[in-house]
């Protein structure tokens, strides 16, 4: 009965979920090309990462520039679980997520006391420390990294697929779960309090919000989701090292995806992830002699968004003003005819 009433009050959201999931599920029908499907998988993995980042960065407004650290923890745990203990990522991903939460709890203790830019910069510093530790820690592979391709076991056990279409659907299922979690958070007391903290922390405290505690939980949930993303990424790429997991550009890409798509929104991270990943992959593949092209396109996109769509690309669908512009254009187009 409760489920029914929840579904009734969430009609709009349910409709969005159905539309988006149907579209995403049908995309492999367009092309089953290896490169195309790989790009789809990566897009969904980055979308999961964006959804995770959005909890602390979007809802609670604490911009973390160090989320690559949780991505790496998830990836390392998944990689070593399989390589050393033949454990399936279906289990190790949760261990990784729990470790991410623990790490977020410890790191968040001092860092979440900092506000605004101070928090942003210190998260950046922490992830650098993690990168240096991973590079020098030989037990987990050091600078050489870990390669852990397993051909003996079933791909559904290892999540390592030769043909990536099933993997795409698995990632999509995770994304769906996190989208729903994201929505639940947004519509709950927790989400309201996070938004209040983002808007004005002192004012929120006077209204009864324990900002330290809510920020800490937001950071931990965010870390766990990104950790799962890292675990999926590890099985996708089957080779990890500190240079590919922990560069500053990875931390920034997570942020960029959400800001591009729409910070603090449900679908922004998904939209941002697909656009950024496709630009990234195809710019590199098609124009490999122009090595900075993806960055150039990011830059131009950023400019457009800052100037015209400060709430992200998703606002094309939600913003009445933007909708109005499109309508007006259509109408004036008709008049011109």
């Amino acid at each position: 009965m409760r489920l029914k009433s929840v579904l009734a009050s969430e009609k709009g959201f349910v409709r969005q979920v159905v539309i988006v999931m149907v579209i995403l599920a049908l995309i492999p029908a367009i092309s089953r090309g290896e490169f195309f499907v790989s790009t789809l998988c990566l897009s969904v993995i980055w979308a999961i990462m964006g959804i995770g980042w959005n909890v602390i960065g979007g809802y609670a407004g604490q911009v973390s520039n160090g989320h690559a650290m949780f991505f790496a923890v998830g990836a390392y745990v998944g990689a070593w679980g399989l390589k050393a203990f033949h454990m399936t990522p279906w289990i190790t991903m949760w261990i990784g997520a729990a470790l991410c939460m623990l790490l977020a709890f410890i790191v968040g203790w001092p860092l979440l006391r900092l506000r605004g830019h101070y928090f942003a910069i210190s998260t950046m510093a922490i992830v650098e420390c993690v990168r240096i530790i991973c590079t020098n820690w030989d037990l987990i592979g050091g600078a050489t990294g870990v390669s852990f391709f397993e051909k003996e076991m079933s791909p559904f056990y290892t999540l390592q697929f030769q043909n990536r279409v099933p993997f795409y659907y698995i990632c999509l299922a995770f994304m769906l779960a996190f989208i729903i979690i994201s929505r639940v958070i947004q519509q709950s007391k927790f989400g309201y309090y996070c938004r209040a903290i983002k808007a004005n922390q002192d004012s929120a405290e006077s209204a009864g919000v324990n900002s330290t505690s809510y920020k800490r939980w937001a950071y931990m949930i965010s870390a766990a989701i990104v950790g799962i993303g890292g675990a999926l990424y590890a099985q996708y790429i089957q080779y990890i090292d500190p240079v590919s997991l922990l560069p500053l550009s990875n931390s920034m890409l997570i942020v960029l995806i959400v800001v591009m798509g729409g910070i603090g929104t449900i679908w922004g991270p998904v939209l941002g992830a697909f656009i950024m990943t496709f630009i990234n992959q195809y710019a590199r593949a098609l124009f490999n002699q122009l090595s900075g092209l993806n960055l150039f396109i990011y830059g131009v996109l950023c400019l457009i968004i800052v100037l015209f769509l400060p709430k992200g690309l998703i606002s094309i669908f939600t913003n009445d003003k933007v909708k109005g512009v499109f309508k007006k254009n259509k109408e004036s187009g008709k008049e011109a005819e």
Binding site: Q187, S188, K189, Y192, Y193, R195, A196, K198, A199, N200, D202, S203, A204, E205, S206, A207, G208, V209, N210, S211
Partner: protein, 242 residues
């Protein structure tokens, strides 16, 4: 027993003593006004009471509990609501969402909190603005919104910091009427007001703060006729009767 007891409250910012040895009580159900010239330390006192910052020395007893070491959100949970002199609305949220944040203190389901928020919004005369972003409100509306958000948490006491400043005559009368209604509904009120006339017309008791110290307390009549108060106001370049 008094609902709120402020005992020897002293707050220093470096060398500057913004409050020094301030002591007074607020009886449950009453309206108490705090007056004093600009820079006298009224807002500082409010920040100490509402636990926005720590006292240098002294004690605050609220509803039978020593809250001197509480954090702001704990004081709020214990029944203390406040507004700010410079309104601190949650700008990116709508009016109703702002009030809902306050209501979530007592109603942890968003649906219930929103129902409560609608009631409070109506009570404060904000219903037409419910869907509007707080950033789009004028100062008067923002002050009202702050009152509503604090009320939504069902406080035992409401601290109002210069709610009337900058309002014209009609708006001021409306605000006074609102404060009276809030008080009638059972909420004790401690209000800072720079405009003497307002305080005099609603307060059961008035506390006068000058240069961080309590000059005197008493009924509105006692205070307005006290030579030192007149002196402090006139001497500070202010008109006591304004």
């Amino acid at each position: 027993m008094a609902l709120l007891e402020i005992k020897n409250a002293t707050k220093a910012f470096g060398g500057l003593k913004a409050n020094e040895d301030v002591t007074f009580d607020v009886e449950a159900g009453s309206i108490v006004g705090v007056v004093g010239p600009n820079g006298a330390g009224k807002t500082t006192l409010f920040n100490s009471i509402s636990r926005t910052h720590d006292l240098t020395s002294g004690q605050i007893i609220f509803d039978g509990k020593d809250i001197t070491k509480y954090k702001a959100y704990q004081a709020c949970a214990h029944g203390m609501g406040r507004t700010y002199q410079i309104p601190q609305a949650l700008e990116d949220m709508t009016v109703l969402e702002n009030i809902t944040v306050g209501a979530l203190l007592k109603h942890s389901k968003v649906f219930d909190a929103m129902e409560k928020a609608k009631e409070v919004s109506e009570f404060c005369g904000l219903t037409e603005l419910n869907g509007k972003l707080a950033s789009g409100l004028n100062v008067m509306q923002k002050k009202r919104l702050e009152i509503a958000r604090a009320l939504a948490g069902e406080p035992k006491i409401l601290l109002l910091d210069e709610t009337m400043a900058g309002l014209n005559g009609v708006e001021r009368d409306e605000a006074i009427e609102l404060i009276r209604r809030i008080n009638k509904s059972g909420v004790t009120i401690l209000m800072i007001e720079h405009v003497m006339k307002v305080v005099m017309s609603v307060s059961d008791k008035v506390v006068v703060i000058v240069s961080g110290k309590k000059l005197m307390e008493g009924s509105p009549e006692e205070v307005t006729t006290h030579p030192e108060v007149i002196n402090a106001y006139l001497g500070g370049g202010h008109n006591a009767g304004r």
